[in-house]
Amino acid sequence: MTSPVTTDPEAGNQESSALAAGLRGLRLPIIAVFLAAVVGGILLLISGDNPFSVYAAIVDESFLSGSGIGRTLEKATPLVLGGLAVAFAFKAGLFNIGGQGQLLLGAAFAAWIGYSIGLPTVIHIPFAMAVGGLVAALLGAIVGALKAYRGAHEVITTIMFNFVAGNLTDYLVSRDGPWNDPEGGAIARTPRLQDSAIIPTWGEIPMGFFFACFFAVLAWWLLNKTTFGFEIITTGANKHAAKYAGINVNRIIILTMAISAFLAGVGGAVQSQGVFGRFEASNNTGLGFDGITIALLARTNPIAVIPAAVLIGGLNASTTRLQQDFRIEPEVVSILQALILFFVAAPSVVRYIVRWKGLDDAEDIQLTGGWGS
């Protein structure tokens, strides 16, 4: 073994190597998206569509026109937060697969604050968002506590809470429920939010998107610059060593799940306050699962969650056009997402298909480590 006695050559140019590493980190997600498009194209061919015109329509609809970009960012807003929720939990070795339920709670409770009380706008908007986020955070804390003290695995409990939250919010806005909109007739929904609780748009661009980006930066800063973030990442990297180092692992698990759920809850609040102007259960399907794809596409980096969410948001924004022009069911987007997820999560496949030398260092991500973690 050689042992060069030098004074740490890497220390000086750390910033530039971080940038290079960041750029190198982009290759795998890009190839993954490309491969997913190829396989998705084959599936489209099977159902009798021309994949090229379908993809062209998606790009045209979601990314090329001003109103399209606005719609894409609107769709991307809750996805940034949902993706952050999953990515943040991954840092502590936790898989929050229950973004859906947390998002529903956030959406419903924010809507309740939004329609039922009158406040000045500067207070009303953040207050409603905070209540939505905190109710979801409470649910996350319960999940964390069940994991920390009872060993109940979060993958199952969060999924189960999705159904519980779905039923609960359904009830709250149903005809017998306390938050029902009497003018809604058969539609189960809350009354319309007061104007003071509605998040405005800036031209075509929804302001909620900036809130979401702010949370992404905040999450990145928290994880990478603070001692609390160090405790979270240490817990995720080696729970045992964390415990030996004096970190209260149970506390970290509970707090991380709570923060993760808070982010998802705010994502729901933004839906009610910025997009629909009320809470209606059927408006929010599937968003929770998109977060998983986005978090992995971003390789759990909070900042990278933003472009990943914009990409998936663009896909989601094109479904109406696809249905009109090609009579393609909106679920084609879920298939594309599952394919992206597969290729991102399995770098060895990508390496096998694309034999680039430089890709060898695209490390495999073992995120969850089974039941024991």
């Binding site: 159902s47 898989f95 697969i97 069940l146 009872r150 060993g151 109940a152 695995h153 993958v155 199952i156 409990t157 999924i159 189960m160 809470f161 999705n162 159904f163 519980v164 039923n167 609960l168 359904d170 009830y171 149903s174 017998d176 429920g177 699962f289 998983i292 794809t293 992995l296 069911e329 679920e331 084609v332 987007v333 879920s334 298939i335 997402q337 599952a338 394919l339 997820l341 597969f342 999560a345 399995a346 060895s348 496949v349 495999d364 991500i365 073992q366 995120l367 969850t368 480590g369 089974g370 039941w371 024991g372």
Partner: protein
């Protein structure tokens, strides 16, 4: 059977006594609840057997939900277009075997994170089955079997001896999986590779091929679980699994990774489901239906919290094999 614990026996006897008392009190209702419990338990039990067999071999399968959905989808449309229910069942099984092959490939060969692999299956299945779904089709029903004479027995007759074939297959497969797991060469090797794969490897057991075979076989049990849903609902609906694949995982844990344990746990879930349906149907309780709807999910969480620490998963579950 020598591996039945006294506690299990005790609960079984208590359940039986309660059932008899209830039957004396209101025969018809009791029969309805218990019969429904058996039917509801079927898919959970088959799903739990799927998870159990995978984990006993050292592979975590949280894609049971997606496996069920894919199999039900294939089963429904093949039965619908061919007009033959048997072809549908075969097609469903074949589809679940393909899903199993995918899980095996990603988690054994590619050594990918197994929980992510399962999640991919779930997301893909939901998208795929909804995308290719065609409305308004019907399929021939899955045949039922009533065992002559036995079905006429009071109480146990309708409860145990008159069901769709897949409900029978669930009961039968519990026994089969138990016997094979504990009495055969295959079972011994399976238990070994889930606990201590290098011990099996150093005596010449081919871990990769055994894990592949077991994951595919197990996924076909998951496929049967999906077909069982089809048997009850008699048509395919989008997202018809409704989390049952995850509840099956809780059933597996509660049953401590043992086939008969899973059966007990599945019957408990099934019974509560049956009770809920009956009470709701009768309008016996003035509670919003959404709260009834939460029961199985909350119950799963409670079961996990109660059993989570007690159930010891196979030591190697979730870890790809890297060689001795």
């Amino acid at each position: 059977m020598k591996d039945v614990k006294p506690v299990t026996l005790f609960f079984a006897v208590v359940a039986l006594v309660l059932a008899v008392i209830s039957y004396q009190w209101d025969g018809r209702q009791t029969e309805a609840v218990v019969s429904r419990a058996v039917v509801e338990a079927g898919p959970l039990l088959l799903g739990a057997l799927c998870g159990l067999l995978c984990e006993r071999s050292g592979v975590i399968n949280i894609g049971i939900e997606g496996t069920m959905l894919m199999s039900a989808f294939a089963g429904f449309f093949i039965a619908s277009y061919s007009g033959t229910v048997w072809l549908g069942l075969l097609g469903g099984l074949a589809m679940s075997a393909i899903v199993g092959l995918f899980l095996a490939w990603t988690s054994i060969t590619l050594r990918q994170d197994q929980i992510i692999a399962g999640t991919i299956i779930n997301i893909f299945a939901l998208g795929f089955t909804s995308f290719y779904y065609i409305q308004g089709r019907t399929m021939p029903g899955v045949p039922s079997v009533s065992i002559p004479f036995l079905e006429d027995l009071p109480f146990v007759g309708p409860m145990l001896f008159s069901h769709g074939i897949l409900t029978f297959s669930a009961m039968f497969l519990v026994v089969v999986v138990h016997l094979f797991l504990y009495r055969t060469r295959w079972g011994l090797r399976t238990r070994a590779i889930g606990e201590h794969p290098s011990a099996a490897d150093t005596v010449g057991v081919n871990i990769i091929s055994l894990r592949y075979r077991n994951v595919i076989l197990a996924s076909m049990l998951g496929g049967l679980a999906g077909l069982h849903l089809l048997q009850s609902a008699s048509s395919f609906q989008r997202g018809m699994t409704n989390g049952k694949g995850f509840i099956a995982l809780a059933v597996m844990l509660f049953g401590r990774y043992r086939p008969f344990g899973a059966m007990g746990a599945a019957l408990l879930f099934g019974f509560l489901g049956g009770l809920q349906a009956q009470l709701q149907f009768k309008g016996a309780l003035d509670i919003p239906p959404q709260f009834f709807g939460m029961i199985p999910y909350l119950l799963t969480i409670i079961v996990l919290a109660a059993a989570g620490l007690a159930a010891r998963p196979p030591a190697a579950a979730g870890t790809p094999y890297e060689g001795a």
